[in-house]
């Protein structure tokens, strides 16, 4: 079976991704140190999502992987959020 040649990620790309991750870490630390009330949770989680996306796409190579992996990974995340949402249907309205 021919899958085509494996994609090789450059050292420089990896270093740049790490750079962005560190910048985002700095950003989340500074944002949460100012009191934004409930928004600091939102901000921190959004930045975490961004960081996770970077790790997934470049470090874990998902950007260059098969469609099957991309779709099924998205499915895992969607299912997980729907489960949280449905659980909160109970707790929000008790």
């Amino acid at each position: 079976m021919s899958e085509g040649k494996a994609h090789i990620t450059n050292y420089s790309t990896l270093a740049m991704v790490l750079g962005s991750l560190l910048v985002l870490t700095w950003a989340t630390v500074s944002i949460t140190s100012i009191n934004l009330g409930p928004w600091s949770v939102t901000a921190a989680l959004l930045i975490a999502l961004l960081k996770a996306t970077l790790v997934l796409l470049y470090f874990m190579h998902l950007k260059f992987d098969s469609k099957l992996l991309k779709i099924s990974f998205t499915a895992v995340i969607v299912v997980f959020f729907l489960v949280i949402l449905l659980t909160f249907f109970d707790y929000l309205f008790r």
Binding site: V79, T87, Y91, F93, R94
Partner: protein, 467 residues
Amino acid sequence: MGPQTYNSFFTVHGIIMIFVIVIPGLPAVFGNFFLPIMIGARDVIFPKLNLLSWYLYVLGILTVLTSLFTFGGAPDTGWTFYAPYSFKTTTNMFPAVLGAFILGFSSILTGLNFITTIHRMRAPGMKFSNMPLFVWSIYGTGWIQLFATPIVGITLMMVIAERFLHIGFFDPALGGDPVLYQHLFWIYSHPAVYIMILPAMGVISEIIPTFARKGIFGYNAIVASTMAIAVVGYFVWAHHMFTSGMSTTAQFTFSLLTFLVAIPSAIKVFNWVATLYKGSIRIEVPLIWALGFMFLFMIGGFTGLFLGSVATDVHVHNTSFVVAHFHYIIFGGMGSAFMAAAHYWLPKMYGRMYNKFWATVGWATFFIGFNVLYFPMFILGYQGMPRRYYDYLGQFHNLNVVSTIGSWILATGLIITIVNLIRGARNGPKAGMNPWEGRTLEWTVPSPPPPENFDVIPDLTSTSTAH
């Protein structure tokens, strides 16, 4: 039998039947054997992982069994391990919970193996669009196993942590919420009933067209309903908790979703009946078991709707109505499908045919016994007899006696069937390569199949249908 013994009995019965027998049953026995053959492969893709999964399975069983014989006594919480009782009882919860965890791990590895096999090992020309329906059902099941089992895994780990460290996760005295335990438990355990029933539906979808001697009616609809069950079935869990103190919004939502998941099941039944319609039907033992499946599964399914709507559920909740519903689906449904599969594929697996007369007698006895045993429970439950009580009021006496007699008839039927199958496998007459004129790939290899299934991997690119 005292109350404590009774509690242990229904608990251990639940744990063993659900985690050890019913969840792995069809995939482990027939999936392992026929999944590779039906897609034209020599084996599953990770044979070593498969072996590991088997070792974990055995280890899980042994761990569960130690809970019976060591000090502390057999667990008494029911198979649901509801908190907070599950970490307060002095009985042997730890081995039981750990055993369930290990069995879950084994189940995950099986699902992972099957999904990868289906994606990577299909013979040339075997596309997703013409894959046998049993394989499709195993595929859907695999995804549920992967998505649902980890949740119960972590929940069981939390119960273990709770017992040893007293963290308080589900302990109201420390700020924990027992209802959250129920959420987490059922996030797995409702999809688990689809892990049990989807392969059964797959078996039926193979058997019906073979004996109707025509193609399955609505192949695409059955495939779509399989996947729909896998997806929607994941989001209905809290219908087990209508009386647990959940918010009314959640009750409404989960009731609605539960009714939605009934639709794909109904589509399947419709398609099976439509396949039989105007077919040139050949009455053979596997078909009889399959028809029994449809009958019992439909009773189970319709009574499920009573339980899925909040108002009626409040009335019959935790009564023997639930017990009857569940056993109609799992024992009547999955059990019948297992027997149908055994009678369908035994000639292939052992190359020999069983005695058809005794097989029919066995089925008839089972079918009568089953209904005599479980149907009265619907009535009893409706009248208010609670489940999991070791004693009952005098007014429930007569129907309970009927039920008990039914259990003897059922047991006789099962014994006849199993003895007949074993005798057939040992020294029945030679069955030949294709006794049922089946059209899937397993009927193109000798019975029993050679160790690597195929000398030459089949090529289906030129043939139009495999299903």
